[in-house]
Symmetry: C2
Subunit: 337 residues, 2 copies
Amino acid sequence: MTITDVALAAGVSESTVSRSFSSPDLLHPETRLRVLDVARRMEYVPNRQARSLATGTTGTFGLVVPDVMNPFFPPFIKAAQARARENDRDVFLADSDEDPLVESLVLKRLSKRVDGLLLCASRVPDAYLLELADEMPVVLFNRAVPGLASVLFDEANGMRQAVEHLAALGHQRIGYVGGPVQSWADERRRAGLRDAAEEFTVSLVDLGPHVPTWEAGVQAADKVLAASVTAVVVFDDTMAIGVMSRLAARGVRVPEDVSVVGHDNIAMAPMWHPSLTTVDVKCGPAGRAATDLLLGMPVGGPSTQTAPAAESSLVLPVQLMIRDSTGPTEESRTPRR
Amino acid sequence: MTITDVALAAGVSESTVSRSFSSPDLLHPETRLRVLDVARRMEYVPNRQARSLATGTTGTFGLVVPDVMNPFFPPFIKAAQARARENDRDVFLADSDEDPLVESLVLKRLSKRVDGLLLCASRVPDAYLLELADEMPVVLFNRAVPGLASVLFDEANGMRQAVEHLAALGHQRIGYVGGPVQSWADERRRAGLRDAAEEFTVSLVDLGPHVPTWEAGVQAADKVLAASVTAVVVFDDTMAIGVMSRLAARGVRVPEDVSVVGHDNIAMAPMWHPSLTTVDVKCGPAGRAATDLLLGMPVGGPSTQTAPAAESSLVLPVQLMIRDSTGPTEESRTPRR
DNA sequence: ATGAAAGCGCTAACAT
DNA sequence: ATGTTAGCGCTTTCAT
C-alpha cells in the first residue's frame, strides 16, 4: 500500500494524498475526507522512513538514561514515552551504564536517527553537549549546562529543607553520603548542604562519593557510624535503604541512634520500615515537562537558535517528606510533661 | 555528507561506496580500505532512513512492556537494549500501561517502523499476535502462544519448589495471592500450584487476581488473614512486600504467624526485613536470550516461516531462594533437644 | 571487481 | 485547490 495506490484509487494526484495527511488545511475539506476515507479502506499508512528521507525529520527522539534499573528513572521514562506517543512520536531508549564513554558512543549513534535528544543525568562534558545541541534539540534532565534547556529539581532547597529539619530536631553533626562523581545533582546537593549547614550552624561531614546502589549504601553505613554523626543525608533512597539495612544489622536504631534522610521518594521509601524521610521529587511530571519542552523545539536546527534556552529551563519544586527515619536526638528529646 | 560526496572524493562510483559498507566482500580489499578511509576522514556515516527506504529494513526493533515502573522489567529492558546495541540496532521502547487496548495500538504504530518485536508479558489475544508474527519476527517474553517463539520461565517448577518448601515446613493450608487477569504467567502459576498442592497434599486457597502493585499486596494481606492460612504464595515480590507491610501493621509476625513466598527476586527482595523467600528468575539473561532470538530471525518475513517457532522457545530454569520470610509452622516447630 | 541507472515512498517547490 | 516534477540517500539489478 503506497501513496500511489491510494492516489489511483481516489482519482487524485499523489500530492493530494500526501497533503491530506501532512497538511490537511491546504485541501478542500471534501477532497481530504474522500481521500482519507479511501486510504482508510485500503488500510494505507504513510511510510515513515520514506517521509524521513523527504523531510529530514524522523518522528523519533532519543532518551538516554544512566541506568534503567535505578528506580529513579522509570517514572521519568514512562512519562516521557507516553507523552511522546500522544504526540505521534516514538522513542529510542538507551542505557549508558553510568559510563560517560558509553554515553558518548550512544549519543553518536542516536543523533543520526532522531529529531531530538532527552538526556537524563548526563555525564558527558558540557562541550560535548553544546556541540550536540548545535545540531538538534536537546533537553537535559537533572543536569544543567549554561545555554541549554533543562528540567531540574530545586536541589539546594531540598537540601536546605533536610538540614533545617534535622537541625530543628537537635542534630548538630550531619553526615552526607554522596552520589556518583560527575553527577550534577550530587554537586548541587553538596553546595546546598554547605550553605544550609552554615545557615543552621550545624557541622557537615562528607562521607565521600558513591555509585548509587543499595550495596554502596550498605558500605557507607559503617562510615556513618565511624564518623559519629547523629544524622545522615544520603544521595538517594536506594542508598539510604542500604544504609538503614546495615545500621539495623549492626544494632543501630533509626531514628533513635541515627536519623536518615534520603532523596527522590522512590516507591519503596514509604514502604520501608522505618519509613524513609526523603526529598520528594516528581519524576513523572518532570518527564512530561521535558518531553513537552523537546517537542516544542523546532526540529532540524540547533536547540539554541530560536529561544534562549536559559528561558526554557525549568526548575521543579521539591518537598521534604518527613517520615519515621528521622527523629530528635537523644539529648534534644523533649521531656514529656 | 552523502554517499555521493564520498564517491567523488574517492574517485569511485556510489555503488562502490555503498558496497564497501554493506557488502565488503564484493570489493577488492584495497578499494574497500581506501573508500572506508576516505569516508572516515570525511566523517561520513550512511543514512539509516535512506537505507531503510531502499532495503525495507530499519535496523530497529520494538520492545513493549506492560509497565516500566514494575521492577520486574528494567533488568530485561536493560539487557535487551544492550544486546541490541551490540548488534548495531536501536530499540523503540513502549509502555502499554497494562492495558490490552493500549498495547494493540502501540503494536499497530510500531509494527510499521521496526524489523521485529519483543513483547513482554503481552496481554493481547493469541490471534492478534499470530497475525503480527505473520508480518515480522516476534519474540514473546513471559507469554506463550502456540507456534510463536518465546522466552519463558519454568513457572510450574517454581510453584512446585515453593509448595514443596512450605509443605516441608509443615504448612497444610496455603493461600495464593494472584496476579493480573490475562496474565499468562499467573495462569501457569495457578496450574503449577494446583498440581503441587495435590502432589504434596496441602490445600490451596485462591485469594483472587490483583494488579501487581504494592497497594494491591497491602489489600490482599487482610484476605490472607481472613482465609486463615499459615502460608501464602504471592504473584510477585512487589505485592509480597505489600502483604508483609500490612501484616506487620496488623501485628502479624512473618514467618512465625504467616510464611510469605514471593516471585521474581527483585532487587528489594533480599533487602526487606524479613528477607523475602522468593522464586528467583533471571530477567537479564532472559532479555539477552530474547534479543538474540529476535536478531537471529530473518527480517522482512513472518517469524514462523523459517524455523518452527516451538523449537526456538526457551524455558529458563528458576530457583527458590529460601530466606527469612518462610519458617516452620508453630505446631511443626521441632522442639530443641 | 566496478559502474550505470532505476527505483524505494514520500514531500515540496513550482505550476496551473 | 490540485497536479507535475524533481529529488531525499541509499541499494541493487544489470552491464561491462
